[in-house]
C-alpha cells in the first residue's frame, strides 16, 4: 500500500512527537482536500453506508456449534462485551458499530483493555471504515490508540508514513543516496534542536564524500608522502564528526581554512568545543610524533610578544595523552613541568621517569631529605646522580637547613 503523498511530505512527524502532532494534523487536514491518486483505500463517510461485511477470521471457534456461532455473531454486543469476546478469542463482529460515536466507544473500550492485539484489530476496522481525516482527528486525542496505529502502519510496511523517517537513512548503503536522503530530511518539521543535528549530519556526510573522493585519488596517485607513510586503513564515510576531525588533523594539517578538509574549517562548521578540538588534534599530531605541532597548540603570545603555554585541559591529562603516544622524555618533561599541583607533578614525573623535573622540584622545595632518597633510586654515576650530588654539595654552603 503506497501511502498518500501528503503524509510522506507534510505529515512528518506528527505521530511520535506528540506536542507537534496537533500542528501536523492540521496541516494534513488542510491538505486532505487535494487528495491524491495513490490513495487506493476505500473511502467511506462515517455516516454513510456500511462497508460490507468485514470478514472475520474466527477459525478458532470452528468447534463451536454453528448455530450458537451465528447467534453470537448477530447478537447485539456492547463495545465492552465485544472487546471481551475478542480477548477470549470468541466470534465477534465490528460491522454493527456504524456511527462514529459507536466506533469511538469501541476504540476506547479496546484501549481500556490494554490488549495490543484487540486495539490493532479495532484500528484496522476503523481504518477501513473511516476517512483518514476523521480517523486522524480522533486519534490525536487518543495517544495510546495513536501509537498502536503507528506501530501497525510500520508493521505492515507503510514505511513512508513513519515519523521516524530519519531513522531510515541507516538502511541506505550508498553514500550519495544516503546524502540525498538526509537532504530530504532537512525539510521535515523537526524541533529546532534536532533540526540543527540533522543539518550537521547532512553537511558532514556531504563533506566526507568530497574528502573521500579526493583522498582516494591522491593516495592512489602516490603524490602525497603522508598517505604513503600512513596508508589509510578505512574510508572516512559515515564516521562521527570527532573521528573526521582526527582524520583531518592527521592527513590535512596545516591546510588553509578555506578547504573542507582542513581542521580549522571543520572546527568552525561543526562548532566543536575548544576541549574536544584540542584533545583530538593533540591525539593526531602526537601519533605522528609531530612534537613541534603539539608545542604550537599550547603556545600563546601576549601583546608584548612573550610566549606562554595555556591549555583548556589540565596539563596532567596532556602528559597522559603524550605518554600514551610514546612521547620521548624530553617532550614529556616540558609538560610535566607545567602541572601546577606539586604532588601531582612529582607523582607524574616519577611515573614517567622525568628525573630533571623531580630533582628541580625538590631543589626548589629545598627538600634535602627527598633528594637523598631519590639519589638512592637513580643509577650511580649517571647524569641525574651527578646533578643531585652537585645540588647537595652546593646547598651545604648555602641555605639548606
Amino acid at each position: 500500500l503506497p501511502y498518500p503523498k501528503y503524509l510522506q511530505e507534510e505529515g512528518w512527524p506528527p505521530l511520535m512527537y506528540l506536542k507537534e502532532s496537533k500542528r501536523a494534523v492540521n496541516s494534513i487536514r488542510s491538505l486532505v482536500e487535494e487528495e491524491d491518486e495513490e490513495d487506493d483505500v476505500e473511502k467511506v463517510s462515517w455516516s454513510g453506508e456500511p462497508v460490507g461485511i468485514y470478514l472475520l477470521d474466527c477459525r478458532w471457534s470452528v468447534h463451536d456449534d454453528v448455530i450458537l456461532l451465528w447467534q453470537d455473531y448477530v447478537s447485539d454486543w456492547t463495545p465492552e462485551e465485544t472487546v471481551k469476546r475478542m480477548q477470549q478469542g470468541k466470534v465477534y463482529s465490528l460491522e454493527k458499530f456504524r456511527s462514529l460515536q459507536d466506533k469511538l466507544l469501541l476504540l476506547d473500550e479496546a484501549v481500556n483493555a490494554h490488549d495490543g492485539n484487540v486495539i490493532t484489530a479495532v484500528l484496522i476496522y476503523l481504518k477501513k471504515s473511516l476517512s483518514k481525516e476523521i480517523l486522524f482527528r480522533e486519534l490525536i486525542t487518543r495517544e495510546i490508540a495513536l501509537r498502536h496505529y503507528i506501530h501497525y502502519l510500520k508493521e505492515i510496511g507503510e514505511q513512508k508514513l513513519l515519523l521516524m523517517q530519519y531513522r531510515d537513512h541507516l538502511n541506505v548503503r550508498d553514500e550519495n543516496k544516503r546524502r540525498d536522503f538526509l537532504k530530504n530530511c532537512l525539510s521535515f518539521p523537526f524541533s529546532p534542536d534536532d533540526a540543527t543535528h540533522v543539518q550537521d549530519h547532512y553537511t558532514l556526510l556531504e563533506r566526507q564524500i568530497i574528502i573521500e573522493a579526493n583522498d582516494k585519488q591522491v593516495e592512489s596517485s602516490g603524490q602525497a608522502d603522508i598517505f604513503k607513510k600512513y596508508p589509510r586503513k578505512a574510508s572516512i564515510l559515515n564516521m562521527p564528526i570527532i573521528t573526521t576531525l582526527y582524520y583531518s588533523c592527521f592527513y590535512h594539517y596545516g591546510e588553509s581554512d578555506g578547504t573542507f578538509s582542513s581542521p580549522a574549517n571543520i572546527r568552525k562548521t561543526f562548532r566543536i568545543s575548544d576541549k574536544q578540538f584540542l584533545l583530538t588534534c593533540l591525539g593526531a599530531r602526537a601519533k605522528l610524533k609531530a612534537w613541534f605541532d603539539v608545542d604550537a597548540l599550547f603556545t600563546t603570545k601576549n601583546w608584548l610578544g612573550y610566549t606562554k603555554k595555556r591549555s583548556p585541559i589540565g596539563f596532567h591529562r596532556i602528559v597522559d595523552i603524550l605518554q600514551k603516544n610514546n612521547a620521548p622524555v624530553q617532550v614529556l618533561q616540558d609538560y610535566v613541568n607545567l602541572v601546577e599541583d606539586v604532588e601531582q607533578k612529582i607523582s607524574l614525573a616519577q611515573k614517567y621517569k622525568c628525573h630533571d623535573v623531580i630533582i628541580n622540584t625538590y631543589r626548589d622545595l629545598k627538600d634535602r631529605q627527598q633528594l637523598i632518597v631519590y639519589r638512592g633510586k637513580v643509577e650511580k654515576g649517571s647524569s641525574e646522580y651527578r646533578k643531585i650530588e652537585e645540588i647537595l654539595s652546593n646547598s651545604v654552603r648555602r641555605s639548606f637547613p
Binding site: R59, N117, H148, H197, D200, H201, L279, R317, S347
Partner: protein
C-alpha cells in the same frame, strides 16, 4: 532440575508443572513424530520450563533454528513452529512452507505462538498464501516463568520500552493474565498495593478479570497475603547504578541471560586437565547456569562483592576439612560413610573452584589500582562473549572512577555542573552506553539537567558517537531518564533524606540494612517496599506524591472460609511485582529483608525482565548495532 523451585516460601514448582502440563498437551495434539523449529529467542525461556527430555518423551525427534529457505530433511510426521508473534518471523515460516517438497514427504505443519496468537500474524500468513497449510494454530501462554525459588520473570525484554516509550501496554495485559494464573494456583491475593501508572492499569485489569470469572472462584487457601505492584519509572535511579552484589556484578560484567552467564574460559581451563600442559586455551566461552540449585551460589550470590573473598575461603576450609576426614575413617563403616558423601563433596569442591575463578575475574576488573592519574583504556571484551551484551566497565581504574562519580551523584554532589569524568570518558570514546548511564543518572539525581548542560552533553555525544544517536537521546528524553529541568526545585534530596536512600558506613561484610547492595545506596524501590510493610505508606505521603503516578490500595473479597488465620509470629508473604524490570541487587535487597529476624514479611519477587543498567539502556536505544 527443579528442586530449587520448591525450596522457597511458596512452592513455585506448581507453576512450572502447570506450564509443563500445557506444553505436553499441545505436543500430544500433534500426534506422531515431530520436529520443532525454534524462534531462537524462545529457547532460553523454554529452557526454564522444560528440558529436552520432556520434548523427547513426546516424540520430538529433531530441533531446528528458524531460518529462511527450505527446512532441513527430517523423517517426521509433524513440523511445529515455536515462535513469537512477529511479522518478520511469519515471512520466514511462509518461505519454509512454500519451499517444502510436497510430493516427496507430506508433513503436517503447526504453529505455537508464544505467548499469544496474533491476528496480524495470521493475516500475514494468509497474505503469503500459507495459512491453510497449518493444522493447528495455538498459543502457549508463557507469562510468568519460575526463575528461582522466590523469583518469577516474564523474560520480556521490551516491556519497559513498550510501556513507557511506545505506550503499548500489551505487556501489562500479559502481566495481569499471569497474575490471574498465579491466583488460580495459589489462591486470591486479598490485598493489592501499587504505585505508578502501569501498576494502576494492571490492578484495574485484575479486578475486572476477577469480576468476569466471578463464577469460577478458586477454593484455595491464599498463599500470598498481599501483592505490591511497582512501576519501574517511579525509580529510574536504581538500575542506573552499578550493582555491587556478587550476582549483580556477574550480570554487570558478563551479563546473565535466562539464568546463564557466559564467562571467559581461561580461568576455568586448568582445573580440568592438569596433565596436558601447553594445550590450546579453550576459545568457547564457559556457559554456567546460576541459581539456588547450587548450594554455594545460593549462599554467596546476594553478598556484597567485598564479602565474597571471606565467604569463599571459609567454604574452602570446610570442604578441605571434610576431605581430611578420610584419614580419620578407620572402620569399614566409617570408610563407607565417607565414600557415600564423596559425590556431594566433589560437587561442592568444583562449585567452589568455579566461583573462585569467577570472583577472580571480577576482582581483576573491579579492584582499584594505584594509578589515579593514568588514562585507562577500555579493552572490549566483546570477543569473549560476542553474543551477549558488551561489557561496559572493563578496566579497574575505570570501574573505580565510575563508581566514585555514581556515588557523588547519588549523594547529590555537583549534579548541576558538567561532570569532568563524563567529559573525559566521551573524549576517550568510552562505550556509549556507559556515558548514557552516567548522564541519565546525573539527570535523575538532579530532577533534570539545566538546559545548557543537557545541550552540552548531547552535542558532545552526537559529535563523538555519530548524529544517528539523536534517536536514542530522544528516546531517553521520552522515558524521563534524561530531561531538562522544568522547575527550579530539585526534589531528589528530599526523597533521598526521607527514604534514607544514602547510608554512610554501609556494612558490606555483615549488613544491617539493604544499602549494602550498592555499598551505600539503598534502592528506592525496595525502600518503598520496606516502608509499606512497616510503618505503612501513610508515613511517606509527601514523597509518594513526588514520584510519578498514583498510589493505591485495593482489597479482593475472599470466599467464605478461606480467610487465613495467622499463627503467632507467622510471617506475611508479599508478592512484589516490578513492571518494567528489576535488578539482581534489588532482588538481593528483598531477600535480605525476607531473612531479617524481626522482619515479619517474606517476599516473592516477580518482574517483566531481570535487567541491569546496560541491558536497560540498550533496550531503549535505536538500532544499537547500526552500521
Amino acid at each position: 532440575m527443579s528442586a530449587h523451585l520448591s525450596n522457597g516460601r511458596v512452592n513455585l514448582n506448581i507453576l512450572r508443572e502447570a506450564a509443563r502440563k500445557e506444553l505436553r498437551e499441545f505436543l500430544d495434539k500433534c500426534a506422531g513424530s515431530k520436529a520443532i523449529v525454534w524462534d531462537e529467542y524462545l529457547t532460553g525461556p523454554f529452557g526454564l520450563i522444560a528440558q529436552y527430555s520432556l520434548l523427547k518423551e513426546h516424540e520430538v525427534e529433531k530441533m531446528f533454528t528458524l531460518k529462511g529457505g527450505r527446512l532441513p530433511a527430517a523423517d517426521v510426521k509433524n513440523i511445529i513452529f515455536f515462535v513469537r508473534p512477529r511479522l518478520e518471523l511469519m515471512d520466514i515460516i511462509a518461505e519454509n512452507v512454500i519451499s517444502e517438497d510436497k510430493m516427496h514427504s507430506p508433513r503436517d505443519f503447526h504453529i505455537l505462538f508464544v505467548p499469544r496468537r496474533s491476528m496480524l500474524c495470521e493475516q500475514r500468513l494468509k497474505e503469503q498464501g500459507v495459512l491453510g497449510s497449518f493444522i493447528n494454530i495455538d498459543e502457549y501462554i508463557l507469562d510468568l516463568i519460575p526463575y528461582d525459588g522466590d523469583l518469577l520473570s516474564m523474560e520480556s525484554e521490551g516491556a519497559f520500552r513498550e510501556c513507557y516509550l511506545e505506550s503499548d501496554q500489551t505487556s501489562l495485559y500479559h502481566t495481569a493474565k499471569g497474575l490471574m494464573t498465579l491466583q488460580a494456583l495459589y489462591g486470591t491475593i486479598p490485598q493489592i498495593f501499587g504505585k505508578g501508572e502501569c501498576a494502576r492499569h494492571v490492578a484495574n485489569m485484575m479486578l475486572r478479570m476477577k469480576r468476569e470469572f466471578a463464577g469460577s472462584q478458586t477454593q484455595i487457601l491464599p498463599v500470598f497475603d498481599s501483592l505490591l505492584l511497582l512501576d519501574r519509572n517511579i525509580d529510574l535511579l536504581t538500575p542506573l547504578a552499578t550493582q555491587l552484589t556478587y550476582e549483580g556484578l556477574i550480570d554487570e560484567v558478563y551479563g546473565i541471560t535466562n539464568g546463564y552467564a557466559k564467562l571467559p574460559p581461561e580461568k576455568f581451563a586448568a582445573q580440568k586437565k592438569q596433565g596436558e600442559v601447553g594445550k590450546d586455551l579453550p576459545t568457547e566461552p564457559k556457559k554456567m547456569q546460576l541459581n539456588s540449585a547450587e548450594e554455594l551460589y545460593a549462599e554467596i550470590r546476594d553478598k556484597n562483592f567485598n564479602a565474597i573473598g571471606a565467604a569463599l575461603s571459609k567454604k574452602a576450609k570446610i570442604i578441605s576439612a571434610a576431605f581430611e576426614e578420610r584419614h580419620n575413617a578407620k572402620t569399614v563403616g566409617e570408610i563407607k560413610q565417607f565414600v557415600s558423601q564423596l559425590p556431594h563433596m566433589q560437587a561442592a569442591r568444583s562449585s567452589l573452584a568455579n566461583h573462585t575463578s569467577i570472583a577472580e575475574l571480577i576482582k581483576d576488573i573491579t579492584s582499584e589500582k594505584n594509578s589515579l592519574y593514568s588514562f585507562s583504556f577500555h579493552v572490549q571484551l566483546t570477543t569473549l562473549h560476542s553474543s551477549s551484551l558488551p561489557s561496559v566497565l572493563i578496566s579497574s581504574e575505570a570501574f573505580f572512577d565510575n563508581l566514585t562519580v555514581e556515588q557523588e551523584f547519588m549523594t547529590g554532589v555537583d549534579t548541576d555542573k558538567v561532570n569532568t569524568y563524563i567529559e573525559d570518558s566521551i573524549a576517550q570514546k568510552d562505550p556509549l552506553i556507559k556515558i548514557l548511564r552516567l548522564v541519565c543518572m546525573q539527570s535523575v539525581c538532579n530532577n533534570g539537567l539545566k538546559q545548557k548542560i543537557l545541550d552540552y552533553y548531547k552535542r558532545e555525544i552526537l559529535q563523538t558517537y555519530g548524529y544517528e544517536h539523536m534517536l536514542t537521546l530522544n528516546n531517553l528524553e521520552k522515558t524521563g531518564l534524561l530531561k531538562p529541568q522544568t522547575s527550579t526545585r530539585n526534589n531528589y534530596p528530599t526523597i533521598r533524606k526521607t527514604l534514607k536512600l544514602w547510608m554512610e558506613d554501609a556494612n558490606e561484610q555483615n549488613p544491617n540494612d539493604i544499602s549494602y547492595v550498592y555499598s551505600g545506596y539503598a534502592p528506592l524501590s525496595i525502600r518503598l517496599t520496606q516502608v509499606l510493610a512497616r510503618p505503612g505508606w501513610r508515613s511517606i505521603e509527601e514523597v509518594l506524591k513526588m514520584l510519578p503516578g498514583p498510589h493505591f490500595e485495593e482489597r479482593q473479597q475472599l470466599p467464605a472460609g478461606l480467610h487465613k488465620k495467622r499463627q503467632q509470629g507467622e510471617n506475611r508473604t508479599t508478592l512484589v511485582f516490578f513492571l518494567g524490570g528489576v535488578t539482581y541487587a534489588e532482588v538481593a535487597a528483598l531477600r535480605f529483608l525476607s531473612q531479617m529476624e524481626d522482619g515479619g514479611t517474606e517476599y516473592i519477587i516477580a518482574t517483566t525482565k531481570l535487567i541491569n543498567g546496560t541491558s536497560w539502556i540498550k533496550s531503549l536505544m535505536d538500532r544499537p548495532e547500526a552500521p
